[in-house]
Amino acid sequence: MKWILVVMCILATTVGDVFRSLGMRHHGEIRDFRPGAIGAMLAAIARNWMVIVSTCAMAVSFFSFMKLVSIAPMTFAVPMSAATFIPETLLARFFLRENVDWRRWTGIGLIVVGVVFIAQ
């Protein structure tokens, strides 16, 4: 049960983040943060299928993480949440075609090791 939740959580978070990035890039840079403009932006992204896929995936991720912390200790759940950094960085590089240079790879590596230490 624990490992099923871990896999669900990692997959759902990765899909959610990648599609959120795709959808928001498609929408374009948000420049106006006045309430009216935010309302119009939310109405526009509510019809964006990539944002809809991302929101559904985030909901799965949220509930599987809640269930995970109820059956496994945080020292297990927290490093598991950082495990998404690896597939997400690979997808950012090869699917989203982002410029992942050595500083990003090294930084992400340090963070993943750091999260394992912090959960001790």
């Binding site: 950082a82 500083r103 930084g107 992400i108 340090l110 963070i111 750091g114 999260v115 912090i118 001790q120």
Partner: protein, 146 residues
């Protein structure tokens, strides 16, 4: 004064983008840490919550759980705003500073002891976030000379 050097304009807009990114990254981290803490606190008080969807929906009306959900809505908005202009491989590692904020919140608000291993983790994460924070938030778009 009238003839603006395009290099200066580009430098100024890149600085403005960095400042905007930093502002929303701080909002994202704080709302995420506070939201998760409020949610966990609320769920622990409601130890008898069942597994049915109806029981989970009823739990949303507990004040701490409601506060947590409200803060996580703020987080969702800040995260979406960041991703509208910044790379996923930038936003994800930079907002990882939240793990450090959580560790310090545990130490100062809950009186938890930070072990040497945790301090090592804090140093590693901070170094990683600093390194990624030094890269440009957005990759140049295809066919967009920069």
């Amino acid at each position: 004064m009238q003839a603006t050097d395009p290099r200066l304009t580009r430098a100024a807009s890149s600085q403005a983008l960095h400042a905007k990114t930093r502002f929303w990254a701080v909002i994202s981290v704080l709302s995420n840490v506070a939201g998760n803490s409020a949610l966990t606190h609320g769920m622990q008080q409601l130890s008898h919550v069942g597994n049915t969807p109806l029981a989970l929906i009823a739990a949303l009306f507990h004040p701490w759980v409601a506060l947590g959900v409200a803060l996580l809505i703020v987080w969702t908005f800040a995260h979406m705003a960041l991703l509208s202009w910044a790379d996923l491989s930038y936003v994800m590692p930079v907002t990882a500073i939240g793990y450090v904020v959580t560790a310090f919140a545990g130490k100062f608000f809950l009186g938890e002891i930070v072990s040497p291993a945790r301090w090592a983790g804090i140093v590693l994460i901070t170094a990683g976030v600093t390194l990624v924070g030094r890269t440009a938030p957005a990759s140049p778009l295809d066919g967009n000379p920069q």
